[in-house]
């Protein structure tokens, strides 16, 4: 059964291993705890769940909401679990990276130094903030069972690994911002570049 399936489907299956969730829950999961490795809007999630259900990989039960209309809470079927594990066991094929910020950095030699430096400050702060968030979360997960319903061990391990990935990513970004700032501040390579109030150089 190697039906060709978009990656998003497997991402949804993976998130459903953590707990049964509705489309609405999954949408929040993406923005709240998975944004550093995947994201999707509800307009993409609902049709994907429908298709996964049609293919027998997930099933749902209806549940009243605390506040709002009835929820459709999805969980993995055993077929869904098999499909997920089959996918997860294969190494990921290389997906293209796209980082707008790095493209902007490619232009720093053509921008006034102060503009580049202030942009780097802003970017650094953004990533430093996330780094802190992930570190805090990691501490909470790593120290035994702080979650109200303590996570089962496989989920705990998985979440810990994704948090650590977030941490290495963000700390790498912060490191780069610092190195770039230093290069722009001190290096001779930056000497002959446009500056605000120095028409001559």
């Amino acid at each position: 059964m190697t039906t060709d399936r978009p990656t998003l489907h497997f991402v949804l299956l993976a998130l459903l291993t953590l707990r049964a969730q509705s489309g609405f829950d999954l949408s929040r999961t993406f923005t709240e705890v998975a944004s550093h490795y995947w994201s999707a809007r509800h307009s993409q999630i609902y049709p994907a769940l429908a298709r996964l259900e049609a293919d027998g990989l997930v099933e749902h039960r209806r549940e009243p909401s605390e506040r709002g209309p009835e929820r459709k809470v999805f969980s993995l079927t055993s077929g869904g679990r098999d499909a997920l594990l089959g996918w997860a066991a294969e190494p990921a094929d290389e997906a293209p990276l796209r980082d707008e910020q790095t493209v902007k950095a490619l232009c720093y030699g053509l921008l006034p130094t102060e503009v580049a430096l202030s942009q780097l400050r802003e970017v650094r702060e953004r990533h430093a903030r996330r780094l802190e968030e992930y570190s805090t979360l990691e501490g909470q997960i790593a120290s035994a069972s702080s979650a109200a319903p303590p996570l089962p061990d496989p989920a705990r391990l998985g979440i810990l690994l994704t948090l650590r990935r977030g941490i290495t990513f963000e700390s790498g970004y912060v490191e780069w911002c610092d190195a770039a700032t230093e290069l722009l501040t001190t290096s001779d390579v930056a000497a002959s570049r446009p500056r605000k109030a120095t028409p001559g150089a």
Copy 2:
């Protein structure tokens, strides 16, 4: 003139600041030296160049090829340069990250340990290899003018910054692979997980 433009357009303008290039050249540039921060196929590049030219941001001259049909070599117009610098001066808005490998890691608690470990070995090697490539290139660029036509200083600074970004990214990934390997190998969190020859547990 704040026409809304896809990011790819600005990426192409940025690459054209390095040197005048044909669509074919740009296509190779993406796979050879820009793949760690952007990529695009020729089927996307040619229409984008046509639109940039129609909008007056680039222009081309026809040039005979060494081997093959006539080339259309594009370069920035002054309007294109202005548009690029205006874009580059604004901090990048946050684009969603998508890393399939991290999603797989989320499932490691459900996979046999050896499968996860061997996957991590493969991934680590991939990133370590790239890290080495970027480091080598950085050394060549950083040590003065090794390029046949020595790069103008702004281009040299820009390229150096993108290489450094590649280096911090890849070394962060390698670091994560090592930490994940250790976690799977030694931690008690991994103790109660499926193993090849233990059907019970």
